[in-house]
């Protein structure tokens, strides 16, 4: 089922959670709502579920108006951030709940319910824990039970609120891969909320980046990562270095370099900010050719497969951060205090009034 959000606004008292948000989620896609806390992503998810009603705007399911539909009628599966498992019920009863509350006419028989729950338990790989209570499960297991419970009623839409937020790093990694595979199997239209860019990039078909109640950008993971539409998206996805300078008719002057900036062809000597990802800064021993900035190595730190290098630009006290693969760093044999050249491989320039 496709979801369409049309011009939805929502405020809580004086706080505006959503400002005129419109979005289409095509049938069968897995979409991530990505943004910092307070960006309105959870409110949007709850409005889709019918757990909250918008102040204005409409929600359409498969082109049909659903704004006024009760939660119970929307056929959404909702996975809560803290799972909201019924703590007085076993895993089995939790998963069966949605089937047992159906009106008598449409309620499956006991045997059908049992079969269905067992299939779901198999799907979430917890077949032998059917009689446990939620308190006896680990975080990752609870998460999967919550998911199975939501899937039991065969929802048209699956909504997940920070599904991996409360888990530790290793379990989180496993579960999100599992969720991705699961979605490839069952293909139910899914929307999940996250503040973790890595999670969104790895799991989602499409990413919707939100900030202050508005959508900043939507697109495939590579689109939002490689071609951020706004300074906010640049800043929010991945670590980034800022260069201040000016841009004039498609050429930017930053840190003593002349860079081409075709998207600002109409700019007339405007103040501008250049964004360069840390891994888009190359470090060279000798600065032959143009386009490199002289800098001093201030600090070196190995983080797993990467090495982070803090550089102080010469002639100023500004620090920038570069990330090199470990073997590249080994080859360069960098030392703290050394003079090197930093070359931005890719820079995106925004005229200053867009600045966040």
């Amino acid at each position: 089922m496709s979801i369409e959000i049309q011009a939805v606004s929502k405020s809580f008292g004086t706080f505006t959670a959503l400002k005129d948000v419109s979005l289409k989620v095509p049938s069968g896609e897995l979409v991530a709502l990505l943004g910092p806390s307070g960006s309105g992503k959870t409110s949007l998810l709850r409005i889709i579920a019918g757990l909250e009603s918008p102040d204005s705007g409409r929600i359409l399911f498969d082109g049909e108006e659903a704004t006024k539909r009760q939660v119970q009628e929307r056929q959404v599966g909702f996975v809560f951030q803290h799972y909201a498992l019924f703590r007085h019920m076993t895993v089995f009863d939790n998963i069966a709940f949605g089937l047992t509350v159906k009106p008598k006419k449409s309620r499956p028989s006991k045997q059908e319910i049992r079969d269905k729950v067992h299939n779901l338990l198999k799907l979430i790989q917890l077949e032998n824990l059917a009689d446990r209570y939620p308190a006896q499960l680990s975080g990752g297991q609870r998460q999967r039970v919550a998911l199975a419970r939501a899937l039991a009623v065969e929802p048209q839409v699956l909504l997940l609120d920070e599904p991996f937020g409360a888990l530790d790093a290793k379990v989180r990694l496993e579960l999100r891969r599992w969720l991705r595979r699961l979605h490839d199997e069952i293909h139910v239209t899914s929307v999940f909320v996250t503040h973790d860019q890595e999670e969104a990039l790895e799991v989602a078909d499409r990413i919707v980046v939100m900030n202050e109640g508005r959508i900043e950008q939507e697109g495939t993971p590579s689109e939002v990562y490689d071609r951020p539409a706004t300074p906010f998206v640049y800043d929010f996805l991945g670590s980034v270095n800022l260069f201040h300078g000016r841009v004039h008719e498609g050429t930017a002057q930053m840190a003593g370099l002349d860079l081409s900036s075709p998207e600002n062809a109409s700019a007339q000597d405007a103040p501008a900010v250049g964004y360069v990802r840390s891994h888009d800064i190359a470090i060279e021993r000798d600065g032959n050719g143009s386009g490199a900035i002289k800098a001093e190595v201030r600090y070196l730190l190995s983080v797993g497969p990467l090495v982070r290098v803090d550089l102080v630009l010469s002639g100023s006290d500004r620090t920038i951060e570069a990330e090199l693969p470990r073997d590249e760093a080994d080859r360069l044999q960098l030392q703290v205090g050394e003079q090197v050249y930093a070359r931005p491989r890719k820079m995106r320039v925004f005229v200053e009034d867009y600045q966040i």
Binding site: F12, F15, S37, G38, T42, S43, G50, E52, Q70, V71
Partner: protein, 276 residues
Amino acid sequence: MAGGRAKNNVLPGFTPALGYTIFYLSLIVLIPLSALFFKTATLTWDDFVAAVTAPRVLASYRVTFGASLAAAVINGFFGVLVAWVLVRYRFPGKKLIDALVDLPFALPTAVAGITLASIYSQNGWLGRYLEPRGIKVAFTPLGIAVAMVFIGLPFVVRTVQPVLEELDQEIEEAASCLGANRWQTFRRVLLPTMLPAILTGFALSFARAVGEYGSIIFIAGNMPMVSEITPLLIITKLEQYDYAGATAIATVMLVVSFFMLLCINLLQKWSRRFAE
């Protein structure tokens, strides 16, 4: 984001539930209580003042508030001690004792009244040792205070106990690492943290004692001007069909109750000021 989510909550039944709550509250509590003020309003100001400041009434205030204050002070001290011992130390029978602290909540006041009266009377278990030494408890203001200590005790223990339980052992360890001895730690670190709870318990215990009737009348002796408490005076006036007098005094009691309730609410607000 969590802030204002409630007002468009999807859970069903808010309007009927709130409606019934207000209806039942008005029917059982608010309308009957307002009857008291309407009845009082039929008195002239001079009559009202005369009724609530008659010498016998003033004497009953002195007895009631004096004994309540004394009882609340005793409960404040021993209540903290009992709470401390129950939270911090282990000893046989602790669970049983902990449960027993609530006895004054559960034991009907009339039962407490006749029992205390008989224990402290001339031939009672304690009275027979106390009276020869010149300590008269039954039928004196002292007896009133004893009954008030009984009924007020759980309030202090049960308000201080959870605060002590929540106290992180680390703050005491921090204090002792900084060189404080045990007494200094108690006085400078623990006591200030417990103070709002102690005062709340003190106020609850005081408020309960001021209004108490059942457990006191049997031990009080009920001598006008000496050991007559204000609630009893209300009943006496009522039995003499002096509705106006009874109502006037009851209004004073009610205003005092409201004032105490306000103080307790403020104290509780204050005690939450360090909470996360």
